[in-house]
């Protein structure tokens, strides 16, 4: 479903910047949450006005809400476009809660879970002053589907969406979306119930754009949106500006503090770090270069430099269909042998060792404690692993461990290969070029036995992680269940939980699924990625840092001293 996310994110900048949550976000959301009388809201303190410069390592994939599928893109697009449903501009669990965006209220969901009714707020205007219409929603979804966006699969569950894609006629109707401009009512009919659909409506893809927006990539000249900022001065591969929309005023929606946020593309992370230290740029989006990290950590112990755990999971897949990992004892042996402390070192400390498959900030997360394979922060049980390999009678069996040519993935594949050799198998790593890595291991003909994998959330719903290990998602090509995990008990839990739109009601089910997956040793999860913020001295990093669980650093809350 989200194959493109994995591909685009992991290639765009070495899996180093994704969607995530600040479990360790400290007191990020300590602001006053001042809400000016039902009008636009400002979540934390700090003065307004001013201009800052931020550095990105690469230009976002697109600046078009129908197409963008990277963290850099979404981070900016979220400030320019607002979907019918969205998230609060807050850190932690509060920021992961779905709230009305351009819709007046949360959707009215039918008893069978297949019909969603929403009503557009009245008096909404795009940044160019034109009025927002209910039918713009259907047009926005049509753009996602017609432009073959990476997000198209999220909306293919709408009645008639598949046929709309097949026919390829941009102006054709999607019968599953009924919008009435006069009453501002929007009705969405799904082919089958999907508990994740409210979250899918929060995605940037579903942001409203005017009904006459062309069916083409508009990155050079992004369409107007409804949001606290608008794009200006877009220079492809060089940068762009986010400029505050002065008259943006949507009830309960966050306004921006800064007047202008200039995004510059500076490919060299060392230079970014130096420029930030010297206050030439005000914020760098990626972590400092590995050889600068130690110094930055040591020198900036205040909130000028901070680390946050993201909603991500790094794990090794073990192919259940191919020897020797078709034997449970062998999979258990690998779980016993992997040293999660060592793996954290490969990330320069930017990995939170863990035992769970679900990340700590995700609904349904319940720490598997004690971890059946040993404390993630303690030494592994290699002797036990060796004994299990002997017991399984697979000592000396050949294994190829897959990884890609990104530095961390390569090191991780080499590490696992060494561990497997240590416990009695005969392993060697195979490094595949990054752009084709996931399609290569996702092709059953490759017969990938074991290897590196990771996942960063599309939206804060556990179902967005569990499809990676759901037996139903196994495919011959483009498979994302790389280990071909097909556990009937797990499948049954997911089948039921995925249909329920009430995430709180099924959180325990997902926790049960997580425990089942971990205790069965079906995959080898070892941690959750941390990302960083690093500011110049000009920034008010004490009061204005909000690490959002989906969009990372919230630009609308940034402010200068």
């Amino acid at each position: 479903m989200s194959r493109t996310l994995r591909g685009v994110l992991c290639l765009s900048f070495a899996c180093a910047a994704m969607f995530g949550l600040a479990a360790c976000g400290g007191d990020d959301d300590d602001g006053g949450g001042s809400n000016d009388g039902g009008g636009a809201a400002s979540e934390v303190g700090g003065k307004t006005g001013g201009k800052i410069t931020t550095a990105y390592t690469s230009f976002p994939d697109y600046l078009d809400p129908a197409l963008s599928y990277t963290q850099e893109g979404w981070q900016s697009l979220w400030t320019v476009y607002t979907p019918l449903l969205t998230y609060k501009h807050a850190a932690g669990a509060e920021g992961a809660t779905v709230v009305p965006g351009l819709a007046e209220d949360m959707p009215d969901i039918s008893a069978d879970g297949k019909t969603y009714k929403l009503k557009l707020r009245s008096g909404l205007k795009y940044s160019d002053g034109s009025a927002v219409k209910a039918s713009d929603f259907e047009h926005s979804i049509k753009r996602v589907l017609n432009l073959e966006s990476g997000g198209a699969s999220f909306y293919s569950g709408i009645v008639g969406a598949e046929k709309y894609i097949e026919d390829g006629k941009a102006r054709a109707d999607i019968p599953g979306i009924v919008a009435d401009d006069a009453t501002r009512d929007i009705t969405i009919n799904l082919v089958k119930p999907d508990g994740r659909f409210p979250y899918i409506l929060t995605m940037v893809f579903a942001s409203l754009v005017p009904g006459d927006t062309p069916f083409e990539n508009l990155t050079k000249n992004p369409p107007p949106g409804v949001g606290p900022y608008k794009f200006e001065n877009v220079r492809i591969n060089r940068g762009y500006n986010l400029v505050k929309v002065p008259d943006f005023n949507v009830a309960d929606q966050q306004v921006g503090k800064l007047d202008t946020i200039e995004i510059q593309v500076i490919k060299n992370r060392r230079r970014q770090t130096q420029d930030t230290i010297q206050n030439k740029i005000d914020y760098m989006n990626d972590p400092p270069a590995p050889d600068q990290l130690r110094d930055v950590r040591a020198q900036y112990t205040d909130k000028r430099y901070q680390e946050f755990v993201t909603n991500s999971t790094y794990y090794y897949f073990l192919n259940h269909r191919i020897a020797p990992f078709n034997k449970p004892e062998v999979r258990e042996a690998v779980n016993y042998a992997v040293d999660k402390r060592s793996l954290a070192r490969l990330f320069g400390g930017l990995l939170e060792p863990g035992c769970n498959f679900l990340p700590p900030g995700m609904k349904g997360y319940q720490k598997v404690d004690p971890c059946p394979w040993g404390d993630p922060t303690a030494a592994p049980n290699v002797a036990k692993a060796k004994a299990l390999i002997e017991e399984a009678g697979v000592a000396g069996d050949s294994v190829t461990v897959f990884g890609n040519d990104e530095p961390e993935s390569k090191s991780l594949a080499e590490y696992l290969s060494d561990v497997l050799n240590d416990i009695g198998l005969k392993a060697k790593p195979r490094i595949v070029e990054g752009s084709v890595y996931f399609t290569t291991i996702g092709n059953q003909k490759t017969r990938a036995q074991a290897g590196f994998s990771n996942w960063f959330q599309d939206f804060p719903h556990p179902g967005n992680f569990f499809f990676l290990v759901d037996g139903k998602s196994i495919q011959d090509t483009n498979n994302q269940n790389y280990g071909n995990v097909d556990v009937p008990a797990l499948n049954a839990i997911l089948e039921e939980a995925d249909q329920n739109a009430d995430i709180d009601a099924v959180a325990d089910d997902y926790a049960r699924a997580d425990k089942l997956l971990v205790e069965g040793g079906h995959v080898v999860p070892y941690g959750h990625r941390k990302l960083t913020v690093f500011y110049s001295e000009r920034m008010n990093f004490e009061d204005c840092t909000v690490w959002h669980p989906v969009y990372n650093l919230d630009f609308t809350n940034l402010c200068v001293k």
């Binding site: 590995p290 050889d291 990290l293 040293d339 070192r345 320069g348 290969s417 490094i431």
Partner: protein
């Protein structure tokens, strides 16, 4: 690597008749090869660097011995290990991913890399791989280039046109890009040509690629020399005696281009080692976990300021090896090239 001055022939009479050094002139019984060896012996720099190269080869051969001393293997991770250095415990790799610097002791003599592997052990095993690829690729290049150059130069006509145009096409490709393209494509699927099957992680993949890339640089000068030699009287005489083309090529012409090959060979080895390092640095050469100086440089470059030993050590080895081969190669050229001799004799 220019061949403009490589019209080297074993027939050194013109040089000698032009007034060679007294030592040469006073030894009329010496063969051209003996004269060349004598000249080489006089070139101290070439001998010193030649000896350095053999020391490097000896070190590479001793890699397993050092691995035993260090109690590890080139692929063994020690990420969470702690060792005692100067009586103090030190982490092999710190929590923030910075590897230990050279300890100058048995373990981690030259420090560790970011995977906690012993750099000294990897360096020596990397030397084995780099030297194997360099020497073998140079042999492959020489074999193919000599065969093509001889065929093109001797038969001329369509044969020459076909081979020369093929070389022109190969010449048109940037060698590193061609190497990367071939290396990446073969790394995953391996190489299958008829019964020949080589796995993607085999050292033979970069060896064959580098060997093939180098052909164009040697085949052209060989061809040029053969074109000239085939008109000489000794070839005509052989032809008049009914010698077959094959016999003329390998019995008469090959010995006459041998000095060119000898001059080129060390330079080809040096070039192949550099190309291997470049391809490995770009991920298209030696495949992990096998070490090579190129992959070591690639692994170390991200920690340039906190762990400079990761780049300095393999970089230094690369420089020393290539320098030793180049200086030694120059010495061989000076010894075999009569014009170089004339140059030396100028007041």
């Amino acid at each position: 690597m220019s061949i403009a001055d490589s019209s080297v022939q074993p027939d050194l009479s013109p040089v000698l008749s032009a007034g060679g050094q007294a030592a040469d002139a006073s030894a009329p019984g010496l063969s051209p090869w003996e004269l060349a060896v004598r000249r080489l012996k006089r070139n101290k720099a070439a001998l010193i660097f030649g000896a350095l190269f053999f020391v490097l080869v000896a070190l590479a051969l001793a890699a397993p011995l050092w691995a035993q001393v260090a109690d590890t293997t080139p692929a063994r991770n020690h990420l969470s290990d702690t060792i005692v250095v100067d009586g103090k415990p030190e982490q092999v790799v710190t929590f923030d991913g910075v590897p230990i610097s050279p300890t100058w002791g048995k373990k981690f003599f030259l420090g560790a890399d970011s995977n906690g592997r012993d750099v000294a052990v990897r360096l020596l095993y990397g030397a084995r791989n780099s030297l194997f690829i360099g020497i073998t690729a140079a042999l492959i290049t020489t074999f193919i280039a000599v065969a093509l150059g001889m065929l093109a130069g001797y038969f001329r006509g369509w044969t020459d046109a076909f081979i020369s145009r093929g070389l022109d096409i190969a010449w048109a490709f940037p060698p590193t890009l061609l190497g990367v393209a071939l290396g990446v494509s073969f790394a995953l699927g391996g190489l299958k040509v008829g019964p020949l099957e080589i796995s993607g992680d085999s050292l033979w993949i970069p060896t064959l690629i580098i060997g093939a890339i180098g052909v164009v640089y040697l085949a052209r000068p060989i061809r040029g020399q053969v074109l000239s030699l085939r008109e000489k009287e000794f070839v005509e005489a052989a032809r008049a005696q009914g010698a077959s083309p094959l016999r003329i090529m390998f019995g008469e012409l090959l010995p006459n281009v041998a000095s060119t090959i000898l001059v080129f060979f060390p330079l080809l080895v040096a070039n192949a080692i550099l190309t291997e390092a470049a391809l490995s640095f770009l991920g298209a050469g030696v495949q992990p976990p096998a070490p090579s100086w190129g992959t070591m440089l690639s692994d170390g470059v991200v920690l340039l300021s906190t762990a400079p030993h990761l780049t300095i050590v393999p970089g230094l080895m690369l420089v020393l090896t290539v320098l030793s081969l180049n200086v030694f190669g120059d010495g061989v050229r000076d010894a075999l090239d009569p014009r170089a001799k004339v140059r030396l004799e100028r007041p």
